[in-house]
C-alpha cells in the first residue's frame, strides 16, 4: 500500500463535516480518479493530502510514513507532492520557464524541453502569466508539477481549459510519464470519460462518504448504488410491477413497435448520433439513435432483460454513512 | 574613572539657544571641563530626573520658566546653593529666597500697542486690560503657554484668586480673536489690524525689530512697547527668569558650581545680552541696544517662586473662565 487514508475526517465548520470518514488505499503507480459533485470536498481532500490543510481526524500515510494524524503533521514542503491546482495559480513575477523550474536547481535541460514540448509551450517560454491564455496557464501549471517527479501527483481538474486536441495529447503523455515513473496519482475530474481513459481505479464520493472505489469497468457494470451508476452514464428508470429497474441508454434499441412506447421531447445532434429525450411511463428517458425524431413522435423500444439493472433498497440512492467494506 | 568624572558636567536644559552653546564652549575653554547637555521640555526632564532618582546623571537643571525651577525644588530634586561669590553679582530681587536656584537672565511680559490706533495714555496696568474699552481689541496667546501661566500666577499672588478670576473672565470677553499663534503672531495681528493691543514677551519684539525680513521689521515698528504697572504705588511689570539649579545627587557638584559661577559672571552675562534680547540679572550689564531703547522699567517684586506655587490655581482659573 503506497497511500493509505484511514478514517479521514475534515470539516470547516464542526457541525457540517465535509468528509465524514474516508478510508482507502492506493498502490504505487496507480492512477485514481476522484469523482464527486461540485462542492463535495474534492479539492479540500487534495489540500489535506498536500499538507495545505490539516485533517481533523484519521490519518494519511504515504509510503509507510505518517504524513498527518492526531500527533503528526508533516509540513507541505517536506512532502514532495505535486499539485496541479484547480485555478492554476502561477507566480506573477516569473515567466513561464521560471514558473516551471521554480525551486529546481538541478540541470534539467532535456527534461524541460520535453515537458515544454508536450505542453505546447515552446513558443511562450518568456511570457509572463498574465500574457497567457487560460489553457496556456493551465498547461504551465501541469508542466510545473510533472517536471519534478513527485511521490504523489494530485491533479485537480487539470484539463478543464484545454481543447480536445491538446487535452488528448497531454493526457496520453502524462499517462505514459506517470506509468513509466510509477507516480501514484489522484485525478479529480468532472469528465467521466477522462477517468475511464486513464484511471486504474475510480473513487466515487458523495455527501462526505465514499460510495464506491473500484476499477472503471467494475463500477460501470456493478455500481454499488444508484448514484454511482448515474455518475458513469445516464440511467433510465423503469418500474415493473412496482419494482424499480434501470436501463442504460445504449442498451435500448428503437424498434418499429413494442409494448414500450414513449413520446419524443427533444432530439439533438451530438455528433455521430442523435440524443433523444423522450417520455416513457412518466419518466424522462434518454436514448441514442442514428436518426433524428420530431418532437411529439411516438417511439417504440426494446431491450434485453439481462441489461436491466436492479439495486437492493439501501442502494436505491446513495450512502449517507460510511459503510464497512472490510 | 574618577578623573574623568571630575572633568565633565551633565546638564538637563530647557534652554536651547545658540548662545548657550557659546557659553559652554567658553567655559570648556576656560576650565577644560566637558559640558554635556540634554535639551528637552522642562516637564519631561523633570519626570526623567524623578524616575532616575539617585542614579540620575544630571548635575544641573536649566529652565526658561522659574515655575519649573520651583517645581523641581518642590519635588525634592534640587539641592541648595549657598555661594556668596555667585549671588554677589546678582540683583537680589531675582534671587531665590530658598536658595534652590540661581537666575541667569530675565524678561518681562509686556503690552504692545498699535501706534496708529491706540493712545499710549490709555494703557496703564495688567488689570486695566480687563477694561471694557479693550473689547475686541486685545490679543494674547493660549493659556497652555507657560508665560501666560506665569503671568496669571503672579496676578493671583498679587491680587488674590477671586479678583484674578474676574480679570480672566473679562480678558476673555475682550479678546479680538481666540487665543492662538505665538507671541510674534500677536504683533503681526496688530499690524494687520485684527487687534490693537497684545501681551507678549519683551525679547520677541527685539527679535522682530532685528529681523532680516523687511516685512517683519515693518510689523515690529508698527507697535509700541509699554511696560504695565509702572506708576507710583503700582507693583511693576511682571517678569520671569531663566534659571539654573543644582540637582540633589549631582555627581559632579564642584564642576557644576563652577559652571554656575561662570554663567553668572559679568563676562558671561554680557554674552547673554549680546546674543539675545533678554535682560541680565546683573545690574551692571546693560541690555542689547534695541532693548535699551525701551527704557528702564519697574519690576514686580513678587517672590518668583510664587509663579510656580500658584501655577495649578492659575490653570484652573483659565479653565473656569474659558481662556483657551
Amino acid at each position: 500500500m503506497f497511500l493509505k487514508i484511514n478514517n479521514l475526517e475534515k470539516f470547516y465548520k464542526k457541525d457540517r463535516p465535509l468528509i465524514k470518514s474516508l478510508d482507502f488505499n492506493v498502490n504505487k503507480g496507480e492512477i485514481v480518479s476522484f469523482i464527486g459533485e461540485s462542492g463535495s470536498g474534492k479539492t479540500t481532500f487534495l489540500r489535506c493530502l498536500a499538507g495545505l490543510d490539516e485533517i481533523n481526524d484519521g490519518s494519511i500515510e504515504l509510503n509507510g510514513k505518517i504524513l498527518n494524524d492526531s500527533k503528526t503533521f508533516v509540513e507541505s514542503h517536506e512532502r514532495k507532492i505535486g499539485f496541479v491546482f484547480q485555478d492554476y495559480p502561477l507566480f506573477p513575477h516569473l515567466n513561464v520557464i521560471d514558473n516551471i523550474t521554480f525551486n529546481l536547481n538541478s540541470k534539467l535541460n532535456g527534461k524541460l524541453d520535453n515537458v515544454l514540448g508536450l505542453t505546447g509551450l515552446k513558443d511562450l517560454t518568456r511570457s509572463f502569466p498574465h500574457e497567457l491564455s487560460g489553457g496556456e496557464q493551465q498547461r504551465v501549471s501541469i508542466a510545473r508539477a510533472i517536471i519534478r517527479d513527485p511521490d504523489l501527483l494530485l491533479l485537480d481538474e487539470p484539463f478543464s481549459n484545454l481543447d480536445s486536441n491538446i487535452k488528448l495529447q497531454i493526457k496520453n503523455e502524462i499517462y505514459s510519464i506517470i506509468k513509466n515513473a510509477g507516480i501514484t496519482t489522484i485525478l479529480v475530474t468532472h469528465d467521466v470519460k477522462e477517468s475511464f481513459a486513464i484511471a486504474d481505479k475510480i473513487l466515487i464520493f458523495k455527501a462526505g462518504v465514499l460510495q464506491q472505489y473500484d476499477e472503471p469497468f467494475n463500477i460501470y457494470c456493478k455500481p454499488s448504488n444508484c448514484y454511482c451508476a448515474k455518475v458513469l452514464g445516464e440511467l433510465n428508470l423503469l418500474v415493473i410491477n412496482g419494482k424499480k429497474y434501470y436501463l442504460r441508454p445504449e442498451n435500448i434499441n428503437i424498434v418499429n413497435s413494442s409494448e414500450y412506447k414513449g413520446i419524443v421531447e427533444k432530439s439533438s445532434f451530438v455528433g455521430k448520433e442523435f440524443q433523444i429525450s423522450a417520455n416513457f411511463f412518466d419518466e424522462k428517458w434518454t436514448l441514442f439513435s442514428n436518426n433524428s425524431f420530431k418532437e411529439g413522435c411516438e417511439l417504440s423500444v426494446s431491450f434485453k432483460d439481462e441489461d436491466l439493472i436492479k439495486f437492493d433498497s439501501n442502494c436505491e440512492n446513495y450512502f449517507t454513512q460510511p459503510i464497512d467494506r472490510k | 574613572q574618577n578623573i574623568q568624572k571630575t572633568n565633565e558636567i551633565n546638564i538637563y536644559s530647557q534652554r536651547h539657544y545658540a548662545v548657550d552653546e557659546l557659553q559652554y564652549e567658553n567655559f570648556t575653554k576656560m576650565t577644560g571641563i566637558q559640558v554635556n547637555v540634554t535639551k528637552a521640555n522642562a516637564d519631561e526632564l523633570l519626570q526623567r530626573m524623578k524616575i532616575e532618582g539617585s542614579s540620575s546623571p544630571a548635575d544641573l537643571f536649566i529652565t526658561v520658566d522659574v515655575g519649573k525651577l520651583w517645581q523641581a525644588g518642590d519635588m525634592g530634586l534640587l539641592q541648595k546653593i549657598k555661594d556668596e561669590t555667585i549671588t554677589a553679582g546678582i540683583n537680589s530681587e531675582f534671587l531665590d529666597p530658598n536658595n534652590y536656584w540661581i537666575p541667569l537672565t530675565y524678561r518681562s511680559r509686556i503690552v504692545v500697542y498699535s501706534k496708529e490706533r491706540v493712545d499710549v495714555n490709555d494703557l496703564s496696568t495688567y488689570e486695566d486690560l480687563a477694561n471694557e474699552k479693550w473689547k475686541n481689541r486685545l490679543l494674547i496667546r493660549s493659556s497652555s503657554n507657560s508665560y501666560n501661566q506665569a503671568l496669571m500666577s503672579s496676578l493671583i499672588a498679587n491680587i488674590g484668586s477671586d479678583v484674578a478670576e474676574d480679570w480672566s473672565t473679562k480678558i476673555v470677553s475682550n479678546l479680538a480673536r481666540e487665543p492662538k499663534g505665538n507671541d510674534r503672531d500677536q504683533v503681526k495681528a496688530i499690524a494687520s489690524g485684527q487687534g490693537d493691543i497684545a501681551v507678549v514677551n519683551s525679547y520677541y519684539i527685539g527679535l522682530l525689530l532685528s529681523s532680516e525680513k523687511e516685512e517683519e521689521l515693518k510689523a515690529g515698528n508698527s507697535v509700541g512697547v509699554f511696560f504695565p504697572n509702572q506708576a507710583e504705588n503700582q507693583r511693576g511689570a511682571h517678569i520671569n527668569v531663566s534659571g539654573i539649579a543644582l540637582t540633589k545627587n549631582a555627581p559632579n557638584k564642584d564642576n557644576a558650581i563652577k559652571l554656575i559661577s561662570f554663567l553668572t559672571s559679568e563676562s558671561a552675562q554680557q554674552t547673554y545680552v549680546d546674543n539675545t534680547y533678554e535682560y541680565s540679572v546683573n545690574s551692571n550689564i546693560e541690555p542689547n541696544e534695541i532693548v535699551k531703547n525701551w527704557g528702564d522699567f519697574k519690576k514686580d517684586k513678587l517672590d518668583l517662586n510664587m509663579l510656580g506655587v500658584k501655577r495649578n490655581e492659575a490653570i484652573r482659573i483659565f479653565d473656569k473662565t474659558g481662556w483657551k
Partner: protein, 532 residues
Amino acid sequence: MEVKLFKIKKPNYGLLTVVFLSTLIIFPIISLIFGSIGVDISNFLYLSEYLLLDYTISTIYLLSLTLVFSFLFGVIPAWLISTSRFKGRRIYDLLLYLPLAIPTYIMAFSYGDILSFSGPFQSFVREFIPSLTKVVNQDYLQIEILAVLLSFSLYPYLYAACRISFSLIGNNYINLSKNLGLNEINTFLRVGIPLSRPAIFSSIFLISMEVLNEYGAVSYFGVNTYTSGIFRAWGSMADMDTASLLAIVLFLVVCLFFSLEKWLTSKFKYSFKSNTDLSTYYKNSNKKLIYTHISCITIILAAFIIPILYMTNNIFIDFKNIDFFDVYVLSKNTVFVSLASSILIVLVVLLIQYLKRISKSKILNFTGETISLTYALPGAVIGISLILLFSPINDYFGFLLIGSVPVLIYAYFIRYMAVGVSPIVSSFKKHPKKLDDSGKSLGLKPFQFFRKIFFPLNKNAIIIAFCICFVDIMKDLPLTLILRPFNFDTLATQTYEYAIEEMITKSSIYSITIVTFGVILLSILSVNQSKK
C-alpha cells in the same frame, strides 16, 4: 473524537519569535497600564469635567477635516497615477511622497508665516493689488486651514498605502467592474476603495494618530485637542499620572476601533486573482488628463514646492549665519539613527508579517496586529515609560542605558513600527493565498519562501515602508528630545528648537536638510524601482 494534547511538530520558533518581539514592543504600554492602576484621579476628573468634552469635540472636528483632505490629496492622485499612463507620471509619483519629509509643525509655522501680515502673500497683495488688501487681510490661523496644512504633510501615508494597493488590484477586477457597468469613477468608489480597505484603514490610523499626537502645530493654531489635555495635565498641572491615564484612555479607544475593524473584516479578502495582469487599466481622455495634471500639480505645489521655496528663501536670508559644520554633524547623527531604526523596523515587520502569513496560529495573527498600536501613544509618553522601564537597570548595573543610542533606537523601533507596517500589510494582503499554497507544494522551505516569493512580490512595498520609516524617524521629536544622549542633536530637534522660539528663519536650513535626505532616498529607490 480524541482530544489532541500533543501535536508533535517542530517547536514553533516563529511563534516564539513573534511573541518575543511583540512583547518587546508592547512592554512599555503594559508597564504604563499597570503603572496607572490606583493613581490619584482627581485631576483626571477635573479635566474630564471642564475640558475633555470641549477637547474631544475639536479633536473630532479637526480629525475629520484632516482625514477628508488627506483623502482628497492622497487617495485620488494615487488612483490616477496607478491606473493611467501619461507623461510626467513618474515625476509626480516621486513628488507626491515628498511632503512627508516636512514636519507638521514646520508646515504649520511656514504657512502661518507665509499667510501672515508680514508674509509674502499679503505683502504681495498690498503692493500690487491694493484693492484686495482688505479681502486677504484675514486671520488665517483657523482650524480648517490647520486641517489642510496637517493633511499636506500627512496625506503621503495614504498616498503610499493606496498607491501600493491600487497598483495591485489587478486588471481582472477592473475589467469585471467595467463589464458590470461601472465607469471609472464608480469603479474607483465601489471597487478600488473597498478592495484597498486595509491600506486605507492602516493609513487613516496613522494619520489620525499623527493628528492626535500633534502638539506644536495644533497649539500654534489655538486648537485644543485631546493631546492638549494630556500635556496640560502633565506640563501645567505637573501630574504625569493623569497624563498617562489620559494616554491610556486614548489608547483603549483606539484599540476598540482597531478590533472593531479587524472583527468586521475578518472574513474579507483583498487579494487580486492570480494570473491576472496588474498593469495599465484606463485610457486617458483629454479631459481626464487635464484634471489629473491640475490635481497633481496643485497638491505638489501647495504641499511641497511652496514650503520648500519659503524655506530656501529663509536660508538665503540667513545664509551668513549658517553653521554648515553643525548641519553636517546633525545630518550624520540623524541619518545614523534613522537608518538603523528603519532597517530594524522593516526587518521586524517583514518577519512578523511573513510568519503571520505562513502560519495559521491565532496568537500570531493577534500579535501581528497589536504591534501597530504603540503608535496610539504620544511619543513623550512612550519616552517616559521607557525611562521608567530602564531606570531600574541603570540603578542595578550602574551604567546608563537611558540616554544611549541603543535605547533611542529601541524607542523609535517601538513607536514607528506602525509606519512600517502600513505599506507592507497593504501589499501582503493583496497577494493571493493561492501563491503561498503553490509555493509550499513546490517544496519551498520557510526561508526560501521569503526569498523567492515574498521578497520579490512585495519589494515595492518594502522599499516604500523603509523610506517612510526613515523619513518619519528623521522628523521625530518627542522621543529624541527626552531619550537622546548628551550633546546629541538631530536635524529635527534643531529645527524644533528654533521653530519653537519663533526663529523659523534659522530653522529652515535644518528642515530643508531633512527634506533633502527624503528626496535623495526616494529618488534612489524610485530609480531602482523603475529598472524593473
